[in-house]
Every structure is written in C-alpha cells, then in structure tokens.
C-alpha cells in the first residue's frame, strides 16, 4: 500500500494502548469510544424520564418504581465513533529540516500515526493537505485510511502557506462534529493563527494543534554570517547569527507562549513537537497527557 511507510511501527507500538478520545461530544453512527450528543446504550447512566407507552419494559427502573410508585425508564449516555480529520500544512516552510528529517516528513509520520490510531478505534478518518489553499481533501470515512495514506505519499512541491483560507474551507466542509488535528509550523502572528483555527472549535470540533518545529528554528545554532533565504517568499536577508541569536530565541519562545496561551483560552489542545524528538516518544507523551487531563476533567 502506498503511503504505508508513514505508519511507523515503532511509534504505533508505543501508543497502541492509548486512545485519541474526543473531549467534546461528537457526531457518529456506530458505537465507539466518544461521547455522543444523544442518549443511547452504554454503561454510563444519564438520567431518568417518565415511562411512555412503547418504551422497552426492560429499561423501567423497578427500584424507583418501588420507591415512588411511578414508572421511570433509565437513560444512558451514548458512545459513538467520531470523525478524525488531520489537516497537514504542506507549504514550503515545512520542507525545512536541519537534521535530515524535514518538518513535512515528521508531519506526515505524525498524521499517519494519528489516522491509523483513529482507524483502529473505528473512527472515520480523513485528511486535508493545504498551503495557501486546500490541496487535497480526503473526506472522513471508516474506509478512507488507505486514501489518506496515499494522499500523504504523493505530496509534491508546493508554494507559500497560510492558515486562514484553507482552514475556513475545512470548517465549511466538516459538517459533523469530530476531532480535527492541525499539523503546521504556524508561521504567522499568534492572533492570525488563533483566528484561523478557532472557527473549527466554534463549530464543535475537538481541535488539536500540533506545532511542528525543527530544533534549528528554535535554537538558531548557525555560526557563519550568511544570507538567509525565506523558503516561502524567496526573500533574502544578510544575517550575522551571533548578533541575533538571543533575540531570535526570545521571539520564538514568545511566539510559542502566545500561541499556547491563545489556544488554552479557546480550549484547543496545543502540542509543540520538535523534529529532533522521536515521534513515538513525543506522541506517547502527548496522548498520555491528554488521557490524564481527560480524567481530571
């Protein structure tokens, strides 16, 4: 199967016993792991309501009848499967890699792992690749893992990127609430990034933002004075790294902090992934943390 190489057995082995659960209620058809907006059949009691003709007698709470002499039926939470859509930024800036693996490759592995994990949870998986516009859209379906992996495989040369326009399209396309994972290097002002991503949240999706950065983008380890060329705009700038390193690091850290703050304010999960950290480790750490936080909530 083309694209299967992005499903890293090492990463999957590490996270196979974890779950990517939606924190909000999601729309689904079949039983799954996520909370559905409807009442249905599960072990989680939801509420009582008065018996109405036609209700299944097996659902009558006889103990309550003994106490109140009235017929009540028990209602339970419904568990559902969910749409899990990964939006992967494939703009030129994602092609940067100082240690062999580029951010795009890292993002592809990350996307494939998430999709595979969701698929094993019986979730419907979909994929969106974008730069300044949506390039490829694999609509969420339980049978679309293969298509999504193939789409990851055939990502070609792209141009500059932006978040607002493509994510607005994604927001319009995804009618059913689900999980949306955005994988990008988020090279835009924090306000603009938040403005682009929060509409997904407002539509009821559980949005997870994976901020993928190369260590060189954070630490700026360059020594030699050189012309630095922007991978997206082609603009060049003479830089003496020694002179700007500290200020650059401070700006990047401020950017990350600002993003984190804005996503937290909007109840959006934000995770910074360095491409120097093995994917299995990073993903395990994130999913474990997410599980723990879910329990807390």
């Amino acid at each position: 199967m083309r694209g299967a190489q992005f499903v890293d057995p090492k990463a999957l082995a590490r996270i196979h016993n974890l779950e990517l659960l939606a924190r909000s209620v999601v729309d689904g058809f079949i039983n799954g792991l996520h909370r559905a907006p409807y009442l249905g059949f599960s072990l989680d009691f939801a509420e009582h309501r008065g018996y109405e003709p036609g209700d299944d007698l097996r659902r009558v709470d006889w103990r309550l009848f003994a106490r109140t002499d009235r017929y009540y039926v028990k209602q339970f939470e419904a568990d559902s499967n969910a749409n899990c859509v990964v939006a992967l930024d494939v703009s030129n800036s994602m092609r940067f890699g100082s240690r062999g693996v580029t951010k795009l490759d890292y993002g592809r592995y990350l996307a494939a792992s998430l999709l595979y994990l969701s698929s094993t949870q019986r979730d419907r998986v979909g994929l969106v690749t974008f730069d300044t516009d949506v390039i490829e859209y694999v609509p969420p379906s339980a049978k679309h893992l293969e298509f999504a992996l193939y789409a990851l495989d055939r990502i070609g040369e792209r141009g500059p990127g932006s978040l607002a326009a493509p994510l607005l399209k994604v927001t319009d396309c995804l009618k059913r609430r689900g999980i949306v994972a955005v994988i990008s290097d988020l090279y835009d002002e924090p306000e603009a990034v938040a403005k682009a991503i929060t509409p997904l949240k407002f539509r009821g999706h559980d949005v997870v933002v994976f901020h993928v950065l190369d260590p060189a983008e954070i630490d700026f380890p360059y020594d030699e004075a050189a012309s630095f060329g922007d991978l997206e705009s082609g603009e060049r700038m003479p830089i003496v790294p020694d002179s700007v390193r500290e200020q650059y690091r401070a700006l990047v850290q401020a950017h990350i902090d600002a993003l984190s703050q804005r996503f937290t304010d909007n109840h959006i999960d934000y995770a910074l992934f360095r491409t120097s950290v093995p994917l299995d480790y990073a993903l395990f750490k994130y999913l474990s943390l997410r599980e723990r936080l879910s329990r807390v909530r």
């Binding site: 190369d214 050189a226 630095f228 991978l231 700038m237 830089i239 002179s243 200020q247 700006l251």
Partner: protein
C-alpha cells in the same frame, strides 16, 4: 620609479574592495534556506548590521594583493637603468588601411577618415616609410613603402568611397603580407574605418606577424541614422499583357523613427508610383506598388527613397525586368497518335509562366529542318524520328545545343538509319498491368531535372503507377529506374545538346504519372534542362561579375562569343571589355545600370544590367575595436598610439618587466589568502 601607465594607479583604489567585501560580501556568500524570516525581520536592523573586522591578517593580505596588482598594471620601471632600447633611432614601416566601403559615405565619415589618414602620414618621422591600402570587399594596394608624404597624401586625396562592402579579413591579410617582409624593428598597421560589425567575420582567422602593432582609428559617429531599401520582390500577372507588381522592402537600421518618406518607383526613368512610408526604430516594411504593364522586352526600374538620408547609396534599388520568356518547344507526334497522347503534355506546357513554353505540334511526317532549327527543345512523343532532310537537321540541331526528349510508347521506333542520338538500344514492352504496376525506384536527385524534388515534401515522383514501359539498354547516364531495375530515364550528351529518353509515355494509358502533382514541375524542369534555360537575373550585387557572352533566357543556340564589348557604366563613361577564354566575366563595381553591347550592333538594344549595393552594409552597428585588435595581434602589441619617445619608454619597461613580478606576488598573496581564509572557521 616611473610608471608606463600612471593612470592605472587609480587601481590602487581597489584596496578598498577587500574591506567592502569583508564587511558586505562575506556575509552574503552563503545562502542558508530558512523556513521563515518572520522573526529575523522583527529584530532591529542594527543587530544584523555588518560585522566588525576580526581577521586583520586576511584583510592585510587582500589589500596588499590588490595593491601589488594595481602597481603591476601601471607598468613600473626604473628610469635610471642602463637598459636602453637599441633600436631607438630606427624608422617605422606603416601600412595605412583606409576603408572605402559605401558605408563610409555616411555624412562626414569619409572626411574624417581622410583626415585621420593624413594625420597618420604627417606623424611619420623622417626615416619612417608608409603605404596606403584601400579596401572594401576588395583590396587595392597603393604606392609601395615610401617616405614621400606627398605621394601618400595624393593617394588619400584620390580615394573615394565606392559601392563595396566592408571586409576586414582580406584587408588585414593584405597588410600583413605587405609588412611581413619588412625588417624594421617597428612595424605598424593603422586601420581607419567606421568599424561596422558586419565587416568582421569571426569564422575566419588572420594573425599579424609578431611585433606588428595594429592601431584602430574609428571615424564613425556613435549614433548613425540610416534607412535602406534592401530588396525588391517581383510578381508577374499573366493576361493579355504581362503585368508586373513590385514590392520594395525598406528597413530602418537605427534607433530613431524615420518620419514620413516617399518610396518612389521609376520605370525607364519615369516616375511610375510613389508610396509614403514611416518606420519605427529598427523596423522594416514592405511597400507594394500598383502593377504596371511591361512596355518592352526589358525595362529598368528603380525604387528610391525620397528624400534620401545621410547614406545615399542604399536609398535606391535597381532592377531590370524582362518580359516573360517562352521556350520554343516542338512537339513531334506519330502519324496515328493515341487519342490523348499529347493532352497532358500540352496542358502541362501551357501553364508555364517563368519561363513559358511556346509549343508547336507537328506530325513527324511533316517536320521540316526549319521547324527543328526554330526550337530550343524538341519532344519526340511516342513516334519514330523524322526522316528525310529533317533527320540530319535534327542531329545537327542537337549537336548545336537543342535538347531532345524522346518518350517511348508502343508506336515509338528508332530505325538503324535514324540519327545517332539515342543513349541506348530500344527493346520490347514490359507489361505490368496484371499486377498493381511498378513505380520509380531509383532517382538521381543530383541531376538538374530531379534536383527540385530532392528536399523533403517537395514532390513524390514514386506516386505514379507504371503499368507499361519499353525496355531500354542504356549506354549513357541513367537518371531514373523503375522498381524492377528497368531504365526509366536516360541521358546522353550529343555535342552541346542533350537527349533524354523517357521509356514510357506521357499519357494516362501506360502510367498515371501525368495525373500526379509532380508531373508538371517534372516536365518543366526537363524542358528547361534540355533548352539550357538560364533565368535572367533582375539585379546583381556590387562585386559580382557578369558574363556578356553567356547565354541568357531562351535563345535557341548557346552563345560563347569572344571579343570586344562596349560597356557604359552607371557614371556614363564608356569603356571596352575584352572577353577572352581567361577573362569571360565583367566585374560589376558601381551601383546603377550597366549597358553592354557589341561595338558593331550600332543602334541595337544593348544588354542592361542592374547593380545594387550589398544590403548588409547598410547596417551601421559598430563593433568593438578591441575585439578586432585582440583577435589579430599577439598580446602586448595592441597599443600603437605611442609616439616615438613613448615607444622607447615602453621598450625600456618591457625589458625590465617588473610588472610580471608584482603580478606574480599579488597572485601568490591571493592564494595564501584563500588557504588562510578556508582555515579560519576551523581556527575560530
């Protein structure tokens, strides 16, 4: 210490280059691709500004290297040295090359050229010798090396720009040949020209002898405006009277618009039309005149730009138009011809226009010697040869140059007693009508009859199906064969005439070639070849030659007249031209019309020849003189403007050659700098 070229000491300013490079370029030499400059752009510019100089040693090496090289180029030498040029008192030999192409006639250029030549003559020392060589496409060597300035000045005064085109290579070769035998230590060529780019042919090579110095003297203005008529297109319209439509191509060879000009057309000296034209810079246009009827056998036409510009030679274009010539063709058929045996032949010959064909059809039994002698080509179409008095007349006519085309069908025969003209023996008939027939298999495309079909998509001669043909055993040349190897077309030269044998017919019964598109051009080409037709040239280009005794058009017999001709040139002067076996052609030099006649023709119409200047010469774009000088001279011998004293100083400097050591030291320092600079990052 003195410098030969102190102005080049300005190159010492180059020591600033390493500083600038150190501060500016060193930061930019490596390109680092980075995902986004978003954060870097937010950092105040001061922090990305040029870095301070850290590697002082590198800087010192670079500065020193540049300083040494600047000193080397300034050519230093020690004036007090004992080394003195041994030939300081020796004279020079100078060849003054003076361009006299027609582009030198551009306003003021020729005067400047002559002034430059006179200046070069005045600069000659008492022991110097010089000669004048005038050149365009041809080279005219003046008086031998002489110290008499008056003789040289007279040669310059007499020179005038002609109609020729600039060609530097033959001129430089001639000058090289003149100066090579000179044993004087200082030899110089002064090239005075407008240095047109079109005059320099890079594909040819010429090298001046070692030690010969070439001094270019450019006399052209930087910006020259020129409009030129570069050609005429002649379209003939057939009708009751032949009409001619002329189109003239005019080109603006300058970077300025021409403004409104008249393009006048003169026919036999009378204005026949005028069209207004306006051209954008470096643009060209085609002007079409109203058609006019040809009044006589030939008319002289001239397209002229009115008013003219600073270069009048290319403002007019001449041509001689001749009435459509018709080749007299005698078509001899058998007494009982097949129903359509001549149909396709007559139709094909009837559509010819340039030349046309005047075809007469005669029964073989009625052919007379006078019929034969009046034809330029004879077609014997599926018939026996004429008998009686016509038989020897036919043989004589062919030996005198008349062409004979024999088409073999079932009625063709050639008796033993017939004229000895056939290029082989006639045999029986091959009938391939039971199958799909044959095709032409081998064709000699190098032969004039088939040459026009040699290019791709120029006609498929193998399209015709050959159902029947006569067997023929050729003793002459075979020009075409059928696919089974049988001969299709054979040729034999008889005297000055040609005999072609086509072993099948020109009807649609034995083959269907007559129904194919290639039939008409094939037949026309064969008749032209047999009639020795020569297309009359409407104009010649200056420098070409015209053979007044050669056959032109459709004259029945080939001329080869030797003797005296009277030539009246475009300037109106009459002179004689002696045509001999060695000098058959008259060189056409001047632009305009030449009239050429035999002395004894009296009032008869003379031959008229139009001569135009080469259109390429009207392109006045200039070439780089340094390129020409460096291409033809050895290194170090290009600067020849030095006076006698300067030459002595130069010689002194050349012998000391200090510049060489300085340059070597500078380069060594640069190498050391490269090695050191590459180690710097590791050292840091």
């Amino acid at each position: 210490m003195t410098f030969l070229a102190p102005a080049l000491l300005a190159g010492l300013l180059a020591v600033a280059i390493p500083v600038v490079l150190h501060l500016v370029q060193r930061e930019r030499r490596v390109l680092v691709e980075f995902p986004s400059l978003m954060f870097l752009q937010k950092i105040p510019y001061q922090s990305t500004r040029r870095r301070a100089i850290r590697h002082w040693l590198l800087l010192a090496l670079r500065v020193l290297a540049f300083a040494l090289m600047a000193l080397a180029f300034a050519r230093p030498f020690l004036p007090g040295t004992a080394l003195v040029a041994s030939d300081a008192g020796a004279g020079r030999d100078v060849v003054i090359l003076l361009d006299r192409s027609y582009s030198m006639g551009h306003a003021g250029t020729w005067d400047r050229a002559r002034d430059a030549a006179r200046g070069a003559i005045r600069a000659l020392g008492p022991t110097d010798r010089a000669t004048i060589v005038l050149f365009d496409g041809e080279v005219e060597v003046g008086p031998p090396f002489t110290s008499e300035k008056s003789a040289l000045t007279t040669a310059v005064d007499r020179a005038q720009p002609g109609s020729g085109t600039t060609r530097y290579i033959p001129a430089l070769r001639a000058a090289s040949g003149l100066i090579a035998p000179s044993e004087r230590p200082r030899r110089e060529i002064v090239l005075i020209s407008d240095f047109q780019k079109t005059g320099w042919d890079r594909s040819q090579d010429v090298r001046l002898p070692p030690g010969v110095v070439l001094t270019p003297v450019a006399v052209a203005e930087e910006r020259r405006v020129n409009v030129a008529i570069v050609g005429l297109t002649i379209e003939r319209e057939q009708g009751d009277r032949e009409r001619v439509r002329l189109s003239a191509r005019v080109a603006n060879r300058s970077a300025e618009p021409t403004g409104e000009r008249d393009m006048r057309l003169d026919v036999d000296g009378r204005q026949a039309g005028s069209v207004r034209v306006s051209l954008e810079p470096n643009a060209s246009a085609t002007v079409t005149y109203a058609p006019f009827a040809l009044a006589g056998e030939r008319v002289a036409v001239t397209a002229r730009l009115v008013p003219g510009d600073a270069l009048p030679r290319d403002d007019a274009f001449h041509a001689v138009l001749t009435g459509a010539s018709r080749i007299p063709v005698l078509l001899i058929e058998s007494p009982n011809p097949a129903p359509d045996s001549n149909t396709y032949l007559l139709r094909a010959l009837g559509v010819g226009s340039s030349p046309g064909f005047a075809t007469r059809v005669l029964d073989v039994a009625r052919v007379t010697p006078s019929d034969i002698s009046s034809a330029a080509a004879i077609v014997l179409n599926d018939s026996r040869p004429p008998a009686g008095a016509a038989a020897p007349a036919l043989e004589t006519a062919v030996r005198n140059g008349v062409g004979l085309l024999v088409a073999l069908g079932e009625r063709a025969a050639w008796p033993e007693t017939g004229p000895d003209l056939l290029p082989g023996q006639l045999g029986g008939t091959t009938d391939r009508s039971g199958t799909r027939g044959g095709t032409l298999g081998f064709i000699d495309f190098s032969h004039p009859v088939f040459e026009i079909f040699s290019r791709p998509r120029s006609g498929d001669l193998t399209a015709g199906r050959m159902l029947r043909y006569r067997q023929f055993s050729a003793s002459g040349a075979t020009l075409a064969r059928f696919d089974d190897g049988a001969i299709a077309l054979a040729e034999r030269r008889v005297g000055r005439g040609t005999v072609l044998v086509w072993t099948t017919t020109f009807d649609s019964y034995w083959n269907d070639l007559a129904l194919k598109p290639v039939f008409v051009p094939f037949l026309h080409q064969a008749i032209r070849h047999l009639a020795h037709y020569v297309e009359p040239k409407p104009w010649y280009t200056s420098g070409e030659a015209f053979d007044p005794g050669a056959r032109t058009g459709t004259e029945a017999t080939i001329q080869d007249e030797m003797g005296t001709f009277v030539v009246i040139g475009p300037d109106g002067e009459s002179r004689t031209f002696e045509r001999t076996a060695d000098t058959r052609a008259l060189p056409l030099v001047d632009q305009g019309f030449y009239q050429i006649r035999r002395p004894d023709t009296g009032a008869g119409q003379p031959a008229l020849v139009a001569v135009n200047v080469e259109p390429g010469e009207s392109d006045l774009a200039l070439m780089d003189q340094a390129e020409l000088v460096s291409a033809v001279t050895a290194a170090g011998e290009t600067d020849a403007r030095a006076s006698v004293e300067e030459m002595t100083v130069e010689e002194r400097e050349r012998r000391q050659a200090m510049w060489w050591y300085l340059l070597a030291a500078g380069l060594l320092l640069l190498v050391a700098e490269v090695v050191l600079a590459n180690r710097m990052p590791r050292m840091a």
